[in-house]
C-alpha cells in the first residue's frame, strides 16, 4: 500500500477535518474565508506537485495516473477559484460558513476519488458523497424558500438518477459479473454485444450524466442554479462538470465498440444541446441562463465522449477545462455585481461597461468563449471536439452542434448587450472591485485568449493524460 499515491486526497481530507473543527469553533467569516483560500491554494499546489504519481491501489480499484492527477489538479484549482469567490459569501448565513467550506472540501474530495476510481462501487459512493454535499450546500441558502425549492428539485432528481444508476449497475454486474471497469471491458464479446449489457451501462452512465446535466438528467439544473447560493452555482457549473467528465472518460473508454451506446449518446447530445440553447433564449435570470447553457455545453462534451477515441477524450477534457475557466469568469463577474448574494437579473448588468470596464471585458471574452468564437479557449475546445467527431464520421452531428452554437450566440449577445449597451434606469456608482478580483479578471481574460490563440501546451498535456488511459 503506497500511501503517497493518496497525497492529494489526504490533503483534501485534512482540509475537511480542519473545517470540521473550525465549524465547532465558530470563527468569523473573514477568517474562514482566508483559511479556505489558503487550503485551496495549498491543495492545488499539492495536486500539481503530485501530478506525475502513478500506481494502483486496492487491487486495481483505485488508479493513480496522469489522467486522474490532471483531473485532480483541475478540481483543486476549481476549488481554489470557487473559494476565492467566497469573499462575499452573502448567500449563506454567516455562522454557517465553516460548514459550507467543509462540505465544499468534502465534495471536492469525493470528486477526486471519482477521478481515480476504477470500481463502480467506489465511483457510485463518491458520486453520492459529492451529490449529498451539494444538496446540503444548495439548501444552505439563506433565502430559504429559494434554497428549499431548488434543493428539493435537485435532491429528487438526484436520488432518482442515483436509483436508476444503481439498477443499471446491478444489470451490468449481472451481465458481466464484474464491477471493476477493466473487468467489465474484459467480458466475453457476446456479453458485451448484448443489449442488456448496453442498457445496464446506459443506466449506469445515467448517474454521471446527471452530474454533467445531460438530457434527460438535466432537469435539476435550472432550479438548482437559480436557488443555490451564487458560489455553489459556480461550483456546480465548474468543478462538478470536471468531475463528471473525468468519470465519464474513465467509464466510457474501455467500452469502445458499443454501437447502441453511441447511438443513445448521440441522441442525448443532440437533444441536450438543442434544449439547453433554446431554453436559454427565454431566460431573464443570469444563473438560470447559465444553467441552460451548461446543459448545452454538456451536449457538446458528449460529442467528444461519444467518439470513444483518444481525440474525442482529448477534446472533451480540453473543453471542460475551457468551460471551467469561462463559466468561472462569468460567475465571478456576476458575484461581484450581485454583492449581496441576490440572484442577478440579466437586465441588472446594464451599464457595466462604465461601472467596471475590466469586468465587462472579462465577461465579454468569457461569453464569446462559451459561444465558441475564436480566439478564445472555447473555440479551441470546440475545434478539438468537432475534429474528433468528423474523424468518426459524425459530420451531421457537428453541423447540428454548429447550428446550436449560432443559437447560443443569440443569448450570449443578449447578455453582452445588457452589459455594453443598455443604460441602467438610474445612474449607478462605479463598482468597487477589489484588487484580487481585478487581478483574477485579468488572469482569466488572458488565459481565455492565450489558450485560444496558442492552445498547444494545454493540448499536449491533455493528450498526454489521455494516453495514460488503460
Amino acid at each position: 500500500m503506497n500511501w503517497q499515491l493518496l497525497i492529494p486526497e489526504l490533503g483534501m481530507l485534512s482540509a475537511a477535518a480542519l473545517f470540521l473543527v473550525l465549524a465547532c469553533l465558530r470563527p468569523d467569516p473573514r477568517k474562514a474565508y482566508l483559511v479556505a483560500v489558503t487550503a485551496g491554494a495549498a491543495s492545488a499546489a499539492i495536486c500539481l506537485a503530485s501530478v506525475f504519481l502513478q500506481g494502483e491501489l486496492f487491487g486495481g480499484a483505485y488508479r493513480v495516473d496522469l489522467l486522474s492527477q490532471s483531473f485532480k489538479c483541475l478540481l483543486s484549482i476549481g476549488f481554489f477559484l470557487v473559494a476565492f469567490l467566497c469573499g462575499e459569501l452573502e448567500g449563506v448565513p454567516s455562522q454557517r460558513h465553516a460548514e459550507f467550506y467543509f462540505l465544499m472540501t468534502l465534495c471536492t474530495l469525493a470528486m477526486m476519488l471519482m477521478a481515480s476510481g476504477m470500481h463502480l462501487l467506489i465511483i457510485y459512493l463518491a458520486l453520492e458523497l459529492s451529490s449529498y454535499s451539494l444538496y446540503i450546500m444548495v439548501l444552505m441558502r439563506s433565502d430559504e424558500p429559494q434554497g428549499l425549492s431548488s434543493g428539493l428539485n435537485y435532491f429528487l432528481v438526484g436520488i432518482s438518477a442515483s436509483a436508476i444508476m444503481l439498477f443499471g449497475m446491478a444489470l451490468t454486474y449481472g451481465a458481466t459479473g464484474a464491477l471493476q471497469l477493466q473487468d467489465i471491458a474484459a467480458a466475453a464479446p457476446e456479453i458485451i454485444a448484448s443489449p442488456l449489457t448496453a442498457a445496464g451501462i446506459l443506466l449506469t452512465l445515467g448517474g454521471f450524466f446527471f452530474k454533467l446535466a445531460v438530457f434527460p438528467f438535466h432537469f435539476w439544473a435550472p432550479e438548482a442554479y437559480q436557488g443555490a447560493p451564487n458560489q455553489v452555482a459556480t461550483f456546480i457549473s465548474t468543478v462538478s462538470k470536471v468531475a463528471a467528465v473525468a468519470i465519464l472518460v474513465r467509464v466510457i473508454s474501455p467500452l469502445h465498440g458499443m454501437e447502441l451506446l453511441v447511438k443513445a449518446m448521440i441522441a442525448m447530445a443532440v437533444v441536450s444541446m438543442t434544449v439547453g440553447n433554446l431554453c436559454a433564449i427565454a431566460q431573464k435570470d443570469f444563473k438560470r441562463l447559465m444553467a441552460f447553457s451548461s446543459i448545452a455545453h454538456a451536449g457538446y462534451l458528449m460529442i467528444g465522449l461519444l467518439c470513444m477515441n483518444a481525440a474525442g477524450y482529448t477534446g472533451a477534457i480540453f473543453y471542460v477545462t475551457a468551460v471551467l475557466i469561462l463559466k468561472f469568469t462569468c460567475f465571478m463577474v456576476m458575484i461581484t455585481i450581485a454583492d449581496d448574494g441576490r440572484n442577478l437579473q440579466i437586465s441588472e448588468l446594464a451599464g457595466l461597461h462604465r461601472r467596471s470596464p475590466l469586468l465587462a471585458m472579462a465577461l465579454m471574452m468569457a461569453l464569446f468563449g462559451l459561444a465558441g468564437i475564436p480566439p478564445t479557449i472555447g473555440f479551441s475546445g470546440k475545434l478539438l471536439l468537432f475534429t474528433a467527431a468528423v474523424g468518426q464520421g459524425y459530420l451531421l452531428l457537428v453541423l447540428i452542434a454548429m447550428a446550436n452554437v449560432v443559437i447560443s450566440l443569440y443569448y450570449y449577445l443578449m447578455v453582452l448587450k445588457s452589459a455594453y449597451l443598455d443604460e441602467p434606469p438610474s445612474e449607478l456608482p462605479p463598482l468597487k472591485v477589489s484588487l484580487p478580483t481585478q487581478m483574477m479578471a485579468i488572469v482569466m481574460t488572458a488565459a481565455i485568449v492565450i489558450a485560444g490563440i496558442y492552445p498547444n501546451t494545454l493540448l499536449m498535456w491533455v493528450a498526454e493524460a489521455v494516453r495514460s488511459l488503460p
Binding site: 453520492e128 439548501l139 436508476i164 439498477f167 446491478a170
Partner: protein, 105 residues
C-alpha cells in the same frame, strides 16, 4: 439450484417499475421518497441475485452500501420534507414556497 437468474432480474425489474410508478404518480413528497426507496430495494435484490449467479461476494457488498446510502437519503430527504412542510403546510410536489418571512405557520 433454485430458479433461473432471469427470474430474479424480472422480479427486480417489476419492483423497480413499481417504485418508479410510485415516484412518478404519487402526488405526495413522502411517497416519492418512498418510491425511490423501493427502487433502491429492487436494485439491491438484483445485486444479490447477480452475486449468486457469479458466486461472488462483491454484489452482496454493494447491497451493504446501498443500505447505507438509503439511510442517508432518508435522513436528508425526510428532514427536507419536514422543512418544506413547516414552510408551506403541504407535501404537494407542486407546492410553491412562499417568500421568506411569510411562512404559513
Amino acid at each position: 439450484m433454485i430458479v433461473p437468474y432471469y427470474h430474479v432480474i424480472i422480479l427486480a425489474a417489476m419492483l423497480f417499475a413499481l417504485g418508479m410508478f410510485c415516484t412518478l404518480a404519487r402526488r405526495n413528497l413522502i411517497m416519492i421518497l418512498l418510491g425511490v426507496e423501493i427502487m433502491l430495494n429492487a436494485a439491491a435484490l438484483a445485486f444479490v441475485g447477480a452475486a449468486l449467479q457469479w458466486q461472488q461476494m462483491e454484489g452482496q457488498a454493494v447491497v451493504l452500501f446501498v443500505l447505507a446510502v438509503a439511510a442517508a437519503e432518508v435522513s436528508v430527504g425526510l428532514a427536507l420534507m419536514v422543512s418544506i412542510y413547516r414552510r408551506s403546510g403541504s407535501l404537494d410536489p407542486d407546492v410553491r414556497l412562499t417568500p421568506a418571512g411569510k411562512g404559513a405557520e
